[in-house]
């Protein structure tokens, strides 16, 4: 047995609120895979989109503060939320490039910067650190027959050279992970189109248009469900799915899983440990049909 993997864990605000099932399933899955997650004590909000939208310095400072907090714990920083992941990575990138901004942030934090921590999204940990072969070996209940549309959204891969998670225009990391646990993936057109998360509060009309297009594409590609790695995307695809169906008078019925939920299912975790009941679009019929419950 190899030495267990250790990470400091940055859940982010959503996972402590609307995306509780993502937090739950992450913790359960990693426990099952014998990966150590230690939540960063007293982490702050990363500032998310609103902060960088209007105040980059604040955004950078918040991220730097969180990285400083994470530095107390051994191991790389594991991030579940794609938005938090993007912000932390961006902060590292920008502060690495600009001496001026680095000085400003140091002054804001009144402390030297500690940016060395390796920020990793869960996908990266599963696919690279843990490894696809080990993952496949850990499977108890392969997701055979489940056709998954992997949705990357904006922030997992973009922009070039910042998250460096995978190819910026044609990533495959989600597909690799979910195929490793026995599911089938569908090729589809809107894997990386924006869902409009930034406007979920202020301009829901925009969200309905953009998310509707994503759902259309997944449905047209013949997917049974959508898999995401971002609570904001999830919020739009899952929570607003009914509303969108109403606006456009269509039926999607596409359950939207977090990647940890599906992988967790494959390693044999029960739906209670995966927070399946918190999903707005009920996944039970689908999972029953595929003999996964």
């Amino acid at each position: 047995m190899e030495k267990p993997l250790n990470y400091s864990y940055y859940p982010g605000c959503s996972l402590h609120a609307s995306a509780g099932e993502y937090d739950l399933s992450t913790r359960e899955l990693f426990k099952a895979l014998n990966i150590q997650l230690t939540e960063i004590p007293d982490w702050f909000c990363c500032g998310a989109t609103p902060a960088h939208n209007v105040d980059e310095l604040l955004s950078l400072s918040l991220c730097a503060k969180n990285l400083e907090l994470a530095d107390q714990i051994e191991g790389d920083v594991a991030v579940a939320c794609a938005a938090c992941f993007s912000r932390l990575k961006t902060a590292q990138h920008v502060l690495g490039e600009s001496a001026v901004k680095r000085k400003q942030v140091e002054k804001a934090l009144d402390a030297p910067l500690k940016l060395d921590g390796n920020v990793k999204h869960l996908l990266e940990i599963l696919a690279k650190d843990f490894g696809l072969e080990r993952l496949a070996a850990a499977v108890n209940k392969p997701l055979t027959g489940l056709k998954v549309a992997c949705y990357y959204g904006c922030l997992l891969t973009r922009p070039t050279d910042v998250p460096n998670l995978d190819c910026v225009e044609a990533p495959t990391i989600m597909e690799k992970v979910i195929e490793a646990v026995g599911a089938t993936t569908v090729p589809w057109t809107h894997r990386m189109e924006c869902c409009g998360a930034n406007f979920t509060l202020s301009r829901p009309g925009v969200v309905i248009q953009l998310t509707g297009a994503v759902l259309d594409s997944a449905k047209a590609a013949g997917a049974d469900c959508i898999m995401v790695g971002c609570p904001l995307c999830h919020g739009n695809l899952d929570i607003r799915q009914k509303e969108i169906e109403g606006v456009y008078n269509v039926q999607y019925g596409l359950p939207v899983f977090y990647l940890t939920q599906l992988v967790g299912l494959s390693v044999g975790l029960g739906s209670d440990k995966l927070g399946m009941d918190a999903m707005i679009v009920n996944p039970t019929p689908l999972l029953r049909e595929k003999n996964l419950l």
Partner: protein, 194 residues
């Protein structure tokens, strides 16, 4: 404003503003050669009166008033598609960030209020609580924007699913966050940061 004739001279081209944008965004504005790829891929272009390429073009000519008067910058989804695909490495998403920042600094900013309100509340929440509390954010937004019934249908369902938490605990080191905010304010006052 949109169609008004542009009188171009060294006086009317605000080079200082452009420099600020370049400093904040860390990207060159002059580099853009107006190929239009940003506008071609922008998911929000149809909602904007100045498509992304034109925002950069106006910026090149130092015509920031025209940009800030419009809603375009507030309709940017920050999806980073433009930055990713720009053939000239113009980081347009960062330029948009910078423009929004400068819009808040400038007088007579955009009419667009909902997005700005959401942003303001979000930042206030962070300053007050250190983290984001969605329920509170949504509720206050609806009150302040006068859309009391917005997303009314979603509320109970989310509560039932445990997605909106009524209660939350404050961070133990809240003083830290307030310090960061106030230090940044002080730096700006002293002209140490934009």
């Amino acid at each position: 404003m949109k169609k008004k004739k542009m009188i171009i001279s060294q006086e009317t081209m605000d080079v200082d503003f452009v420099r600020k944008v370049e400093a904040l965004s860390g990207t060159s504005v002059r580099r853009c050669f107006q190929c239009g790829k940003c506008s071609a891929g922008c998911p929000m272009a149809t909602f904007m009166e100045h498509p992304p390429n034109r925002v950069v073009r106006l910026l090149q000519l130092g015509q920031w008033q025209r940009i800030l008067a419009g809603r375009s910058i507030w309709y940017c989804a920050s999806c980073e598609t433009c930055s990713t695909r720009c053939p000239n490495k113009v980081h347009l998403a960062s330029i948009m960030d910078a423009l929004r920042k400068l819009s808040w600094d400038a007088e007579g900013a955009s009419k667009e209020s909902y997005v700005q309100l959401a942003n303001k509340l979000f930042l206030q929440n962070i300053r007050t609580y250190g983290r984001q509390y969605e329920m509170r954010l949504a509720a206050v937004f609806n009150v302040k924007s006068g859309q009391f019934l917005k997303d009314l249908m979603l509320g109970p369902k989310l509560l039932a699913k445990g997605k909106l938490k009524m209660f939350h605990s404050k961070n133990k080191n809240m003083s830290e966050i307030e310090k960061i905010f106030s230090r940044i304010e002080a730096m700006r006052k002293n002209g140490e940061a934009l």
